[in-house]
Symmetry: C4
Subunit: 122 residues, 4 copies
Amino acid sequence: MSKAETLWIIPDGYIPPSSCGELVSHESVCVLNTSDQDAEVTIHAYFEDREPLMNMQAIVPARRTRHIRTSSLIAGSERIPPGVPYAMEVRSSVPVYVQYSRLDSTQAENALMSVMAFPVRE
Amino acid sequence: MSKAETLWIIPDGYIPPSSCGELVSHESVCVLNTSDQDAEVTIHAYFEDREPLMNMQAIVPARRTRHIRTSSLIAGSERIPPGVPYAMEVRSSVPVYVQYSRLDSTQAENALMSVMAFPVRE
Amino acid sequence: MSKAETLWIIPDGYIPPSSCGELVSHESVCVLNTSDQDAEVTIHAYFEDREPLMNMQAIVPARRTRHIRTSSLIAGSERIPPGVPYAMEVRSSVPVYVQYSRLDSTQAENALMSVMAFPVRE
Amino acid sequence: MSKAETLWIIPDGYIPPSSCGELVSHESVCVLNTSDQDAEVTIHAYFEDREPLMNMQAIVPARRTRHIRTSSLIAGSERIPPGVPYAMEVRSSVPVYVQYSRLDSTQAENALMSVMAFPVRE
């Protein structure tokens, strides 16, 4: 835990399948790129009972943040299915910082959770 | 905080004893195994006022995640009792990543919390 | 982040002053002592506008966890006041692991948050 | 993760634009300064689609904590806008500890999340 890294791990991924009220259930992979180069971010999703879904892409421009909704990620024609436990490996072409947050409004009121993703030194 | 590890610590364990509504109160120990070998995971539970409950087992296959419900763990004929504060030591035969999350729906709406487990370099 | 430590920091402390429903608002400093020696834990509380409250004590026996309610801590005749932002320094006579969690039931439903405390290598 | 640091990163910032009930939605950057010198804290905010907002200032006196509301920060005449995803870089003139917490009461009940900020060794 000492600098921006190019590989971050999020073991607890889950897209809540339903929502109530004003706020929509969702997960965000929040990436901060303080460098002067655009970051090409590649996300792999691992599941409990099927092969990983590889190489979902996103761009985080130089000196910008992006709070990437996991439901927006695409690998070919596949997406991460809602209502299924999974985990993520987040790779970036330049060192970045990654936090993961989930808002769940399945029941009438919303619940939040957040973790700093786990940085891997390669 | 620099790579997958074989020992992870979760000091705040608690299985909520009751639930309301659609979502069932539970804890998950979320393990990601990105390696090519199956991981044999062994969990010890420590309590405030009794001897630890040792050697509860789970398997996380190669290139898979498992979100292990703590209420499903068994040591002989014993389980982790609900409604009791405890802590966990999570050991794995191969390096993995571990996150801990709890959903509490004791009152009418659900609450969430999550932490990256604490990695121990041995 | 590599082993049990004797100093842990929790910058965001706050004892919610009120509760609704079945669950009582509280904070817990969750300590796991996997060693063979009892841990003497000493907690200092820092405030925004007054001198620190030093040397609140708790014991965590060998091979036990304790989820210490912050409202139970005493320094002489003083306690941590509810409804006031503060921060904690947690020192232990033997290396331990520390997680901090808060349950807030000020409004009708409960909310949870949790962080691994920040380990300091001395 | 081994000592107080002078640079901390929070990738997931968001000021909830509305509140319900007794508790007001807000974020806090919780800084603990255990040193004998006052800390001059400088916060930069990064956005998804505009230039960063630089050099918002706060003071954390020696042996004090401050739970800084992000909505109180000012850069010239500009503030961090509510309802917009952003990220923070927190710099301090002396080593400190930083935790980030959010209370969201957009819907009828409150939700909490908290993370230890990510410490950067420079």
